[in-house]
Amino acid sequence: MTRKRNNLLLAYWLITLAAFVATTAMVIAYTPTEATMGPVQKIFYIHLPVAINTFVGALVVFVASIGYLWQRKMWWDDLASAAARVTVVLCSIVLLTGMTWGKSAWGAWWTWSPRLTFSLVLWLLYVVYVMIRPSIDSAHRRAIVSAVYGVIAFLDVPLVWLSTRLMPDIHPTSIEMTGPMKMTLLAWFVPVTLWTVGTLVGRYRLNVRQRAAQREMEQEEDSQAAGAGGVA
C-alpha cells in the first residue's frame, strides 16, 4: 500500500516537473516577444497563474476556518494551516514577479498603488497567521484564534481582486495577447496548480502526522510520570 502510494506520489511530482519544463520551454521558444514591454512581459505567464492560486489558497484557509468553527474538528485546522503556508509562498512569488516586472516597465521596484498595497497586505496577513500559531500553546485555543483570523484575513482577497476596477491604479488591467501568448498563459496554470494541490496535500498530511507524533509523545510522558508515581 505504502509502496503503491509512494509510486503514485513520485509519478505526480514527475508530471509536475515535466509541466514546469515544458511551459518554461514554451516561454523561451514558442511565445513571441511583446512589442512595447519586450521580454519582461513574459513574467506575466507565471505571475497570473500564481496570483489565481494565491486566491485559491486563501479561499481554502477561509473555508477550513469556517469548517473548524462549525465542527471543531482538528483536521480543519490542519488544512487551514497548510493552506496559509502555501498562500504565503505563492503570494511571495506574486509580489516578487510583480516587482521585477515593475522595475523594468515602470523603472521602480515598488509603487503604493491600490493593487500592490492590498497584495502586500494580503502577504502580511498570512505571514502573521503562520507566525502567531506557534506562540499559542493550547491546540484548541490556537485553532480557534487561527480560524477567526483566517476568516477575517480573507476579506482582503476581494479588495486585491477589485482594486484595479474600483480605484485608479497604475497596475495593468488587461494585456492584448496573440494566440501563442494565450496558449502559454493557459499552459502555465497546469504546473502551478499541480504544485499548489500537491504541496497543499503534502503539507496537510505533514500537519496531521506532526499532531499525531506530538500526541504520542505526550501520552508517553504521561505514562512515564504515572509509572514514576507508582514506584514512589
Binding site: F20, T24, P39, V86, V89, T100, R205
Partner: protein, 39 residues
C-alpha cells in the same frame, strides 16, 4: 539590466521558491519517517 534580465530573474527566483518549499515539505515527511523507523 535589460528587460530580458528582469524576465529571467523573475522566473529563476519563482522556480527556486517553489522548489525550495516543495523540498521543505518533503524533508518534513522524511524526518517523521526516520523518527518512526527508530521506535
Amino acid at each position: 539590466m535589460t528587460s530580458e534580465h528582469y524576465a529571467v530573474l523573475g522566473y529563476v527566483v519563482s522556480l527556486i521558491i517553489l522548489a525550495g518549499y516543495g523540498l521543505k515539505v518533503y524533508v518534513g515527511h522524511r524526518r517523521l519517517n526516520h523518527r518512526d523507523g527508530h521506535k
